[in-house]
């Protein structure tokens, strides 16, 4: 240590650094944390989701200050107190509303990125599982927060969801009453939802995100090529295809943040309701316990699950169907055990299956956006079958199958779908015409997938030669 003037700052910093691992963390987690050099556009969404989490905490703090968790006051404390009476309250609330939807959009894209590039495969299974828990916590957070404005859709949406528990035989109803603190959604429900929304869930979310980050920095990032960069290091132990996270990915993420904020603030300033998708128009009516709306549906990010719930003509099975979709996501590392990680080097039919996964999810959302007619329910059931099969067929792609095995897979899968249909029909007979109108969807999907697999075996073949090094760098690669 020299004793010049400029070293005083260094000495002060050194005092802290000796007592807190500031510089060592900075080095190990940022400036000397090796990240693959070929992250593309899909790798923006994780850091953006963290940004939105911070944004939601910051705006939520101010909203909680002005909000009254009491059914008599809640609606007007939001629509008058926050939106009109308090200065900039409208801006903070609109940011919170748009932020909630942005959070889900980013998390869905982030999850799909993980699916595309096989980021849940060894050694990242726990990283993926923690991510699923973050998603569940986020879903709970969004659901709890949606009750707080005490609008019509808030109220009846919460009434529907808290009634899920009553599907459990015998003990369901007492448990639902205990959860709500009341026989219907009311003051005790609003109070506890408020506390869970502003305290319990945010703490849980932050803790889970921290675990997610720790796990990520322990195993290292996957990348679009699915090549493990730590298996190819130079003489000093630095991965040949790795670049320091800071500054390379911090400058990349800054660009992502800027573009994200352009879109985000466009919604905040010019379209906070998002065509009725980000905030249901019915929520501009105060909750009325004596007036059930003709059509109760959740916000866009829960619509696919709502279609699954509605599609099954039995409450308990319906809840199992939509709960099962979370289980499917959690089980992804068990279902897809093919050693090839990235979709780039997987077979054509696998790519179709992964695309169908996203497509059927959007499709379900579209169906749930419509009214709860018999037709839409049956329609939803059949697209749910497609969504489920995109996951449950993943083991098929684990290795190359013989023609005989492909035929067996086809017959078994079709049989399972038709047996489920028959079972559902036995629960609630809605007419064969209605059933057959959309039953061709899962049938045709399976027929197409396995038909192509049988007719063109090359379509099930993964790339024979995997790259040893990363193929390209930069956002647009």
């Amino acid at each position: 240590m020299n004793s010049s003037k400029q070293s005083r700052a260094r000495r002060v910093f050194g005092w802290f650094d000796d007592r807190l691992p500031i510089s060592s963390l900075w080095r190990s987690q940022l400036t000397r944390y090796p990240a693959p050099k070929n992250f593309n556009l899909w790798y923006f969404f994780g850091s953006l989701a963290m940004l939105v989490l911070v944004l939601q905490l910051a705006t939520g703090l101010f909203l909680a200050i002005h909000y009254q968790p009491n059914p008599h006051l809640a609606y007007w404390s939001v629509l008058r107190g926050i939106q009109r009476d308090s200065r900039w309250g409208w801006l903070i609330r609109d940011m919170h509303i748009v932020g909630a939807s942005a959070f889900f959009l980013l998390v869905y894209l982030h999850m799909y990125r993980g699916i595309m590039y096989g980021s849940y495969k060894k050694p990242r299974e726990l990283l993926w599982l923690v991510g699923i828990f973050i998603y569940l916590a986020l879903a709970a957070e969004a659901f709890l927060g949606y009750l707080l404005p005490w609008g019509q859709m808030s109220y009846w949406g919460s009434a529907v969801v808290t009634n899920f528990v009553t599907a459990v035989p015998v003990i369901g109803k007492p448990i639902a009453t205990w959860l709500r603190g009341s026989f219907v959604v009311g003051l005790p429900t609003l109070n506890r939802f408020f506390v869970f929304h502003v305290f319990l869930m945010p703490v849980l979310l932050l803790a889970l995100v921290l675990v997610h980050m720790i796990a990520l920095h322990h195993v290292g990032s996957n990348n679009p090529d699915g090549v493990e960069i730590h298996e190819n290091v130079n003489e000093s132990g630095w991965p040949r295809d790795g670049i320091p996270f800071h500054p390379y990915y911090t400058v990349k993420d800054l660009f992502g943040v800027s573009v994200f904020f352009v879109v985000f603030f466009w919604f905040v300033f010019y379209n906070p309701g998002g065509w009725g998708l980000l905030l249901d128009k019915l929520n501009y009516t105060p909750a009325n316990i004596l007036h059930t709306p003709a059509d109760i549906h959740p916000l866009w990010f829960f619509l696919p699950f709502y279609a699954m719930l509605r599609g099954v003509p039995d409450k308990l099975y319906g809840i199992m169907a939509f709960g099962g979709s979370f289980a499917l996501l959690a089980c992804l590392p068990l279902l897809d055990r093919n050693p090839v990680r990235s979709i780039r080097y997987r077979s054509v039919l696998y790519k179709i299956d992964i695309l169908m996964m996203a497509f059927s999810f959007l499709w379900l959302g579209l169906i749930a956006h419509g009214f709860a007619t018999e037709h839409n329910m049956v329609y939803g059931l059949h697209v749910t079958e497609v969504f489920y099969s995109t996951f449950l067929l993943l083991p098929f792609f684990n290795r190359e199958r013989s023609t005989r095995a492909k035929v067996i897979w086809l017959v078994a899968a079709e049989a399972v779908v038709w047996l489920i249909d028959l079972w559902m029909y036995s629960i609630h007979a809605h007419g064969w015409d209605l059933m057959l109108l959309t039953d061709w969807i899962p049938t045709l999907y399976l027929l197409l997938l396995f038909g192509l697999a049988i007719g063109f075996p090359a379509l099930t073949r993964d790339a024979q030669k995997l790259p040893e090094r990363l193929t390209a760098g930069g956002i647009f690669h």
């Binding site: 000397r32 630095w238 300033f269 780039r344 497509f359 007619t373 956002i475």
Partner: protein, 270 residues
């Protein structure tokens, strides 16, 4: 670092195909709940037309507020919106006997509500966020005589409406234009328009203008921060657009060597 190694390019095509399919199948989801809807009368809200807003405020605060409330709005927030000062506002429009800073609540006594109305009419604070201006405009001008209803009237856009035709003295009564259509998928006689039946105190053009002014006013109270949004929005969005360009240039600067594939240019890992 060579780009041709990656066997890509077939999934964008598939993606486009699937997006097309999604758009196609979207129609299937709604087919079975078809309801014949009357065409909405077009309206363009002009928040700069202060005299229209003042006229709308006059009718809303003196007619609508007889039953409806606007609990989210304070009288004191109106003058600025209407382009008046407090004195003018209190003289021309007034506060229905309430304090200047009070919220706008229905002037109907609770006893009357309990005796006759039973159910409170909807609050109008955010009605223009719940419904589009065109819907509101059509609603206000499309009451028609329907003897099957307790109030004697019905509405083309709000079937079996509970509200009585309070505009009848001004607009006159109207008769429906019925067509054979669908209501929630079932065949039914549906009113898709109205024709004048009796003459009211206003001409059709005068009444349309009054209804338009009410819609302007309701839209203005439901969107109280349009000015701030319009003033602030371009700056914030512009700021991030500029930042996007700058951060992209910084990104390019930093990443030049990564993209060209120059090796061992980092000084880490020693």
């Amino acid at each position: 670092m060579t780009k041709q190694n990656a066997p890509r390019g077939n999934h964008p095509v598939l993606l486009a195909l699937l997006v097309g399919l999604l758009a196609g199948f979207g129609g299937l989801a709604r087919a079975s709940v078809a309801t014949t809807k009357p065409p909405l009368r077009p309206i363009t809200v002009n928040l700069q037309d202060k005299s229209a807003l003042q006229n709308g405020a006059l009718y809303t605060l003196h007619m609508c507020v007889a039953c409806h409330s606007l609990q989210g709005v304070r009288y004191s927030s109106l003058p600025k919106m209407l382009g008046m000062n407090r004195v003018e506002f209190e003289k021309v429009i007034g506060t229905n006997g309430k304090h200047y800073h009070d919220t706008i609540t229905s002037t109907m006594p609770p006893a009357i509500i309990n005796a006759f109305v039973k159910i409170l009419p909807p609050d109008l604070t955010d009605i223009a966020r719940r419904r589009s201006p065109a819907w509101l405009y059509t609603y206000l001008t499309s009451f028609y005589v329907d003897p099957s209803r307790p109030s004697g009237v019905n509405n083309t856009v709000r079937y079996n409406v509970a509200m009585p035709d309070v505009f009848a003295p001004m607009q006159g009564l109207q008769k429906p234009v019925m067509v054979q259509g669908l209501r929630f998928g079932s065949p039914a006689q549906v009113a898709i328009g109205v024709k004048p039946l009796t003459q009211g105190s206003m001409t059709q053009a005068q009444f349309d203008r009054t209804a338009r002014d009410i819609v302007y006013f309701l839209y203005a109270v439901a969107h109280p921060h349009q000015q701030e949004r319009a003033r602030l929005g371009p700056w914030i969005i512009g700021l991030f657009l500029v930042l996007s360009v700058l951060t992209f240039l910084i990104y390019k600067l930093y990443w030049r060597r990564v993209i060209t594939g120059e090796e061992r240019w980092w000084r880490v890992g020693k």
